[in-house]
């Protein structure tokens, strides 16, 4: 009888082809699948799991966005400032162009890419419903946008602790900024995602999103500027502020943190209206996204 440890008569080992082996392990429920999709999407938004080239833009933007916070931290540590030179919430307003470019350029990665390359039909032929797909994609973009908005707040907060500013004051301000960041991220994600889901061409989606954000903000800023001139009606500026995510965000900073912004909402009712519009934009865009992919599934 031959030696069972010797695979061949010559004593060489061989690799056996086991043939096709069926899978008998566990299969995850749709909620777990949706979470996996959201995590992959979040990684893809920063170019992770994609080609090397696609990592450049998101990380350059992120670095540029964090640079001022790091510089402020360095100066504050050396000079020993008595307060942070920029408010937590104001930071995002200052770097809003970078934020806009980031959201506009990465939304197509999550929404246009699958439509352009037809990958959507593979997703739709899998257990996840089209609405769950849309929500998972939206969650990925929201999380990526939040990273962009929250990291500077975290850095500034760490700096404020390092230079031993009052902890309770700083924590309260940082928490407000976090809340505002969520509101801004929700609305930007909705708008950019919706535009990207209607365009199979990445360039078009990027340009359209940036144009919409910049033009709307520009028009609102001009109106607000005129309304603060002597003889102007600041009420007009307040209402104009309702028409762009950035101006809504600016208005709420002015009302809640005491930062110096043009025509912040002057009454509680108006503040509520600002919040309601931000939330409304987000909800409407998410609903439109779900409807968009439901249509895609049944066409």
């Amino acid at each position: 009888m031959s030696d069972p440890t010797a695979a061949t008569p010559e004593g060489r080992s061989v690799i056996h082809d086991l043939g096709y082996r069926p899978y008998t392990g566990t299969r995850m429920p749709p909620a777990t699948i949706a979470r996996a999709l959201a995590v992959t999407g979040f990684r893809n938004a920063f170019g992770l799991g994609r080609s090397g080239r696609s990592k450049i833009l998101p990380f350059v933007l992120l670095a540029l966005n964090l640079l001022p916070a790091v510089v402020i931290g360095g100066i504050a540590a050396f000079v020993g400032l008595k307060e942070l030179p920029i408010g937590y919430a104001e930071y995002a307003s200052t770097t809003q162009v970078l934020l806009g470019i980031f959201v506009a350029s990465q939304a197509p990665v999550l929404f246009s890419r699958d439509l352009r390359h037809g990958t959507i039909s593979l997703y739709l032929a899998r257990p996840l419903r089209s609405s769950a797909y849309a929500v998972a994609r939206w969650t990925s973009l929201l999380a990526a946008t939040l990273v962009f908005l929250v990291l500077p707040i975290v850095i500034l907060y760490a700096v404020s602790l390092l230079i031993e500013l009052d902890v309770s004051d700083q924590t309260r301000e940082a928490a407000k900024a976090l809340g505002l960041a969520v509101l801004l991220a929700l609305s930007l994600t909705g708008i950019a995602g919706l535009i990207a889901s209607w365009s199979t061409r990445r360039g078009f989606a990027v340009v359209a999103t940036i144009a919409l954000l910049v033009i709307a903000n520009g028009v609102v800023t001009v109106i607000q500027g005129i309304s603060t001139e002597p003889g102007g009606n600041t009420r007009v500026g307040e209402i104009a502020g309702l028409f762009s995510p950035y101006s809504l965000y600016r208005g709420l900073i002015g009302a809640w943190t005491g930062a110096d912004t043009p025509t912040p909402p002057s009454s509680t009712g108006m503040e509520l209206a600002y919040v309601a519009v931000l939330v409304g934009i987000s909800v409407a865009c998410l609903a439109a996204l779900v409807a968009r992919y439901r249509r895609e599934a049944t066409s």
């Binding site: 043939g19 096709y20 082996r21 069926p22 899978y23 392990g25 566990t26 299969r27 995850m28 429920p29 749709p30 777990t32 699948i33 996996a36 999709l37 992959t40 799991g49 994609r50 080609s51 696609s54 890419r113 699958d114 390359h117 037809g118 990958t119 039909s121 593979l122 997703y123 739709l124 032929a125 899998r126 257990p127 996840l128 419903r129 599934a297 049944t298």
Partner: protein, 351 residues
């Protein structure tokens, strides 16, 4: 054994187009070829089977799940290879198949194992780590097939898997389809407009026309021997002399261009011996003597009006147990239109 797919009176009315017209059909294990011209209802049927679009009427079951109410359960157990491009160019096949396996509910570790195994089965080696944008069409089709198999489905729907492939890649893909059905134990529904391909890989063939079932039966029943022999001889005026001699011996002969079709059911004599001896007597080189099998396109020819007076004798295909009675008689104008359609299909691989 319960059928893999059961369709009863399935109707899909898009308003302007009646894509499926009260289709009733059972599909069993093994490989089933789905044939039909463009617009015959193949894609609509696949989409309804995946639970993506609702049917206007009737019902469909896949692996025991009702597609209308248990779409997610169906999609978890079915793999799908679409006809069009569906691969993101900036992702490697390896990463993509892992991701797609996870989208079917496999945990990450299991998805990695399955992806590696499936990519080996379809024959993507080192190139699996390169972005798919640089793949040839053949490699892309393999990657598409790998993602359809990644989650170990019990049924795969392959929509034109050989589309756009060169002959070598086509052979390889057909070999894979055959292995999936026979060796992997996964039921396969494969569509193609090349009938010659389906003839070789599928156990059963379903023919759709205008949203109705034209015929459904085992492939070998389609391909029954016609009771004729094909004979080819070489020499001076070989065919004419051979035909005359055989006719003189009381055997029916039809000249079909490059070959002679010889009736093999002559009264009591061995036609093969007769052919051999006749060729020898006439001093002709006998280069071919084979049983004549039907091809799937002959079935289309039979169904087209006016085509029954073909040189091929009426074979017992009509009685070869179509699952459902053939389509009811259509109005004259409609019949003509359908005949035209058959003509187009027929033209593809025939001799």
């Amino acid at each position: 054994m319960a059928p893999v797919v059961r369709v009863e009176h399935l109707t899909k009315d898009y308003g302007a187009v009646l894509a499926l017209d009260a289709l009733t059909l059972d599909v069993g294990e093994g490989t089933t070829g789905l044939v039909g011209a463009n617009g015959a209802g193949k894609s609509t049927l696949l989409k309804i089977l995946l639970g993506l679009i609702p049917a206007t009427g009737g019902r469909a079951e896949v692996l025991g799940h009702d597609v209308a109410t248990e779409g997610a359960a169906v999609r978890a157990a079915v793999g799908y290879l679409p006809e069009h491009d569906c691969l993101p160019p900036d992702v490697s096949a390896s990463d993509f198949v892992v991701h797609m396996a996870m989208m079917s509910g496999l945990p990450r570790v299991a998805a990695r194992e399955r992806a590696a195994e499936v990519l080996r089965h379809v024959g993507l080696a080192e190139e699996r780590y390169r972005p798919m944008g640089g793949y040839s069409t053949g490699m892309k089709q393999k990657a598409k097939l790998a993602q359809a198999l990644a989650h170990d489905p019990r049924l795969v729907l392959l929509d034109e898997p050989t589309n756009g492939l060169d002959p070598a890649a086509r052979e390889e893909m057909l070999g894979l389809v055959r292995r999936i059905g026979h060796d992997f134990g996964i039921a396969v529904i494969v569509t193609s407009h090349l009938l010659g391909e389906l003839e070789r890989v599928s156990d059963n063939v379903v023919v759709l026309d205008g949203g109705r079932l034209l015929r459904a039966s085992r492939t070998d029943e389609f391909l029954d021997a016609t009771g004729a022999l094909l004979v080819e001889v070489l020499g001076d005026e070989a065919h004419a002399r051979m035909a005359a001699a055989l006719t003189g011996a009381g055997v029916a002969v039809t000249d079909r261009g490059s070959v002679l079709s010889v009736g093999a059911t002559a009264q009591g004599l061995d036609v093969r011996d007769l052919v051999r001896d006749t060729a020898s007597d006439l001093g002709l080189g006998l280069v071919r003597l084979q049983t004549d099998h039907r091809r799937i396109e002959d079935v289309f020819a039979d169904d087209a009006p006016g085509a029954s007076a073909d040189s091929v004798p009426a074979a017992p295909v009509a009685s070869a147990a179509p699952v459902v009675p053939a389509a009811p008689a259509a109005p004259v104008a409609d019949t003509d239109r359908r005949a035209g359609r058959h003509r187009r299909i027929e033209g593809v691989p025939g001799e």
